[in-house]
Amino acid sequence: MSEIEALAAAKATATRLSKVKRLNALLTPATAVRKALLAQAKAAHPSGVLYGMPVAVKDNICTLEFPTTCASKILEGFQSPYEATVITKLKAAGALIAGKTNLDEFAMGSSTEHSAFGRVLHPLDRTRVPGGSSGGSAALVAAGAVPAALGSETGGSVRQPAAFCGVVGIKPTYGRVSRSGLVAFGSSLDQVSVLGRSVHDAARVLSVISGRDARDNTCEDRDPLRLPTVPERLEGFVIGIPKEYFPVDLHPGVRRACDRAIRALKELGAAVRDVSLPHTGFAIPTYYVIAPAEASSNLARFDGVRYGNRADGVTTLAELYRRTRGAGFGPEVRRRILVGTYVLSSGYYDAYYRKAQQMRALLAQDFRNVFDRGVDLIFTPTTPTTAFKAGERTKDPVAMYLADCFTAPANLTGLPAMSLPIGRVKGLPVGGQLIGQPFLEDDMIEAAYALERAIPAAEEA
C-alpha cells in the first residue's frame, strides 16, 4: 500500500463510519475521526505490517488522539496524557486508530445498553442488542465500517458481542497482551481483545499487540504471537466437546449450528471427543464475586479529586465522594461497586472472595484435566442464545449476567478463547467458541482458520 492508498483508505473509512452513525457504535464525532485518520495516514510508517489498516478502539483503552471516557459521565471528556501500550504497538505497525467505540460503562454489561451515551444498535436488527460490553467495536466490524477493532474482555465482553454480531472475537491468554492503558475493571481477568471481520484480520491485529511490556508486571515476557498458516485439514487435532456447555435448555438454533460445526470439524479430520468440565455451573457466581471485588477497588480512583468530573458545591469530603460518584456512575456500575465492597468486607471475605478464589482454582483444574488427557482444544457455543431484544434483560441483572456463562470460564482460568460465526438462526448470527491451552493461541487460530473456511456462516444453520 502506498501513502496515497493509505490516505484513500483513511477517507473511505471515515465515510463508512459516518454512514453507520445510527448504530451509536462510535463515541468520537465523525469530523474528529476523519481529521485524525488523515493525520495518522500521513504519519504512518509504510513498512508496518498493518499499514493503512483502520482499527476502531473501545473507549476504555487510553489514546492520545481521542478522549477516553469508558462510556461514563465521570470521565466524560477525559483526555489521557499517555496512551495504552497496545495503541503504541498498533501505530508502530502502521495501523490507523479509527475513533473510540461505545461500551457498557466501564465494560460492565453484556448488551452495551449500560452506556452513559446511549445504547448501541445491533447492525442487523435495531431492536436487538449487539452484545457487550464491546458492543460498539463489534457493531462497527459487523457493519463493515472497519476490518478490525480492539475490545476488552473481563468475562466475555469480546466473544459474546462477536457471536451476537457475526464477527470473529479473540481473547488471548491472560498475560499475552499488555494491560497498560486499559482502564482496569477486574485486573486479574481483564485482557485487551480483538474483533475482526475474519479470523485472519483479528489474528494479525492480535499478533501486533501481543508481547512483553515493561509497564505491565502481569504481561508475560514472551515474543509476540506468531500467526499459523491456514491449514487444509485438521488431522491430529483432538477437540473436546464439554457436555456442560450443551444443557437441555440450550437455544435449539444455537445447538443446530454447533452440531453442524462439530460435523465440520470431524470432516476436517479432527478427532472429536466428549469431555466434562464439572464446575462450569459455578463460573458465573464465581465471576460475579471476583470481578466486582476487583472493580470496587479499581474504580475507587474516580473520586473527582485529580481528574474527571467533580460534583459542584460540595462542602465536606464525604459529600465530595458521595455526590461525585453517585452522579458520575450509572446504576450497573454502582451495583457492582456495592457488591464488590460487600464481598471484601471484614467478616464476609472468607464466605465470598476466598470461596470464589477456591472455585476459580477448581475451574482451572477442570480444564487442566481435559488438556492433560490429550485434548488440544475445546469447542462450545459462545452464548446460550442469539442476540436478545433491547430492554429484555436490563431489569433482570442475573438474566443479563447469564449471557456470559460460556465465556466467563476462560477469563477466570486465563485461557485463550475465541468466537467465530458458525451460522445463522432466523437471520441472527450464532457464534462457536474455541478454548485453547495457555499461550497456544496459534493452535486455536489454526483450527479457526479451517472451520471458518468449512462453514457457510452466513447461512441458516
Partner: protein
C-alpha cells in the same frame, strides 16, 4: 508516676527506603521539590496505569529484614489496602497483608533501666507511601502534594516488648542506627523518612496478660517519642485509677500541648478490605538472591562495638561513641590502619574530629591519613598537643600535609639542645629565687621551669626534652 502500673508498648515504624525512584514507577523520591512535580500516570493513579516494582527497594527492604534477623519469605504477596482520602490517588495503598516480606526477627538494644533488652520483630513488609495533605496552605481548602505518593516504605512491627517510653525511644535510636548502617534509610524523622506509631497499654506488675491498648499516632520527631508515650500512659493510669477503663482507640499526639486526644474508637475504625493486588504477581525471591543481599550487609553496630573493644583495647563507652555512626567508625579504623596508635586515634576522633564534624554539617574534613600523620608527629615529639590542634584546624579548613602546615604555622617543637639550652639558660637566669629553691629540694618546681621554657620558646620547645637540660643546669 505510680509504681503500681507497668507500661507495655509495641511499635510500628515506617521507614522510607533510600531509593532514587519510587516503589512502583520511575518518579524521583527527592524531598522538598515543588508540589506535584515528581508525578506520573502511575503514582497519580491515572486510569489504566499499572505498578511495576522497584527492585532496588525490594533489595533494601530485604537488607533491613536480614539486619533485624528476620526470616525473609521466598514468596510474599502484595495486597491492596482500600480507603478513600484525597492524598491517596488510587483509593488504595499497595502494601502487604497476610503474606509479608519477612517475619520473626529481633533487635537488641540497651534500655536505660533494664540493660540489654531483646525486642521481638513480628514482621517487616513493603508498601508505598501516600501523598501529603496540606491543610494550612490555602484558606478553607486542602491542597494535595503527590510527590510523596508511591515513595517506598517498609513497616517494622515489634512485639509489645517495651516497658517504658524511655525504652521505646532507646529501641528507636538503635533501630535508626542499624538502618542507617545498612544504608536502608536516612531515618530522618523531620523529613518524614521515619515515622512511628505506638500501641500502649498498662497492667499490674507481675501480670502476663496484656491490657487494652490504644494506638498513639502523630509522633513526628524523636524528641516527642517519650513525651507522647508518657502522656498516653499517664492518661490510661489516671483513667483506671479514677475508676474507669481503657477502651481501644486511636489517639493523636499534639506536641504543642503535650497531650493526646481521641481520634477514633475501634468501632469507628476503617475496614480496609485487604485483598491480593491483582496487578502484581506474588513477589518470589530466590534463596540465592536473598543470600546475595545478606552478603552486602556491613558489620552491624553491636558487633562493631564489641570488636573495637577487643581489637583496639577501647573502653565500651569509647567504642560506643566511635561506632554510633558508620562513617565515623570507618574513619576511625582508617586512621588506625594508617598507622596511628588506637587509643590516641580514639581520643582524636572523639575530640577534635567529632567537634569539627559537628560544626561542619557532619563532614569529616581531615583525611584519615592526615590525622594519622598528625598523631605520629605528636608521638615523635615534633608537635605538642596544643600545636597539633592548631595544625588539625588548619588542615581541616584549608587542607595540606600536616608537617608542612606545622612548619608554616611555626609550631614544630625544637628538640635541638643548643637552642633549648639558650632558653633554659635565660629562664634559669630570670628566676634565681626559684632556682635556689629547686636546688634546695623543691623538685615540684620542675613543672614551673618547663612551663617557663615553653613560654619563652613560644611553644616550640619539646616539653619532653626540656626537663633533662633544666635538671642539669639547675643542679650545676
Amino acid at each position: 508516676m505510680s509504681a503500681a502500673w507497668e507500661t507495655v508498648i509495641g511499635l510500628e515504624t515506617h521507614v522510607q527506603l533510600a531509593t532514587v525512584s519510587k516503589m512502583f514507577c520511575g518518579c524521583s523520591t527527592r524531598f522538598g521539590d515543588p508540589p506535584n512535580t515528581n508525578v506520573c500516570p502511575v503514582c497519580l493513579g491515572l486510569p489504566g496505569a499499572l505498578p511495576v516494582p522497584n527492585e532496588r527497594a525490594i533489595a533494601l527492604a530485604v537488607r533491613a529484614a536480614v539486619a533485624l534477623t528476620c526470616t525473609v519469605q521466598h514468596r510474599s504477596v502484595f495486597a491492596r489496602k482500600n480507603y478513600f482520602y484525597p492524598d491517596l490517588p488510587k483509593g488504595y495503598q499497595i502494601s502487604q497483608y497476610d503474606r509479608p516480606l519477612a517475619t520473626g526477627g529481633a533487635l537488641t538494644f540497651v534500655a536505660p533501666e533494664r540493660g540489654v533488652v531483646r525486642a521481638g520483630i513480628v514482621r517487616v513488609h513493603v508498601e508505598e507511601d501516600a501523598g501529603k495533605s496540606l491543610h494550612d496552605r490555602f484558606p478553607r481548602a486542602t491542597a494535595v502534594d503527590l510527590n510523596r505518593a508511591g515513595v517506598p516504605l517498609i513497616e517494622i512491627v515489634t512485639e509489645p516488648d517495651f516497658r517504658s517510653p524511655q525504652e521505646a525511644r532507646a529501641y528507636l535510636l538503635t533501630l535508626k542506627q542499624v538502618l542507617q548502617y545498612v544504608g536502608v534509610s536516612d531515618c530522618d524523622m523531620e523529613k518524614g523518612s521515619l515515622r512511628v506509631d505506638a500501641n500502649v497499654s498498662i497492667r499490674r506488675p507481675g501480670s502476663t496478660a496484656l491490657g487494652v491498648k490504644c494506638e498513639v499516632k502523630n509522633i513526628n520527631a524523636f524528641s516527642y517519642v517519650e513525651k507522647a508515650l508518657t502522656a498516653e500512659r499517664d492518661r490510661q493510669i489516671a483513667l483506671v485509677e479514677g475508676g474507669g477503663a481503657v477502651t481501644q482507640a486511636t489517639m493523636l499526639y499534639d506536641s504543642k500541648t503535650n497531650t493526646v486526644r481521641h481520634q477514633r474508637s475501634k468501632e469507628e475504625s476503617k475496614d480496609y478490605r485487604y485483598f491480593p493486588e491483582p496487578d502484581l504477581p506474588p513477589l518470589v525471591l530466590t534463596p540465592e538472591w536473598i543470600a546475595e543481599q545478606q552478603g552486602t550487609l556491613p558489620e552491624l553496630p553491636a558487633t562493631k562495638r564489641e570488636r573495637f573493644v577487643s581489637q583496639y583495647a577501647l573502653s565500651p563507652q569509647d567504642a560506643g561513641v566511635l561506632t554510633a555512626e558508620r562513617a565515623v567508625a570507618d574513619y576511625y579504623e582508617s586512621v588506625v590502619h594508617a598507622g596511628a596508635e588506637p587509643k590516641a586515634a580514639a581520643n582524636w576522633v572523639m575530640g577534635e574530629v567529632l567537634a569539627d564534624a559537628n560544626a561542619h554539617q557532619e563532614t569529616l574534613r581531615v583525611p584519615a591519613a592526615s590525622l594519622a600523620g598528625l598523631i605520629a608527629l605528636v608521638k615523635g615529639g615534633t608537635l605538642s598537643n596544643q600545636g597539633a590542634k592548631k595544625v588539625f584546624a588548619e588542615v581541616a579548613a584549608r587542607g595540606g600535609d600536616p608537617r608542612t602546615v606545622a612548619e608554616a604555622l611555626g609550631v614544630v617543637q625544637v628538640a635541638d639542645t643548643g637552642l633549648l639550652a639558650q632558653w633554659v639558660e635565660a629562664v634559669v637566669g630570670a628566676h634565681p629565687a626559684e632556682a635556689a629553691r629547686f636546688k634546695g629540694g623543691e623538685a615540684k618546681l620542675m613543672a614551673f621551669f618547663v612551663g617557663q621554657v615553653m613560654k619563652a620558646s613560644k611553644g616550640k620547645a619539646d616539653p619532653k626534652a626540656a626537663p633533662a637540660l633544666l635538671e642539669e643546669r639547675l643542679n650545676r
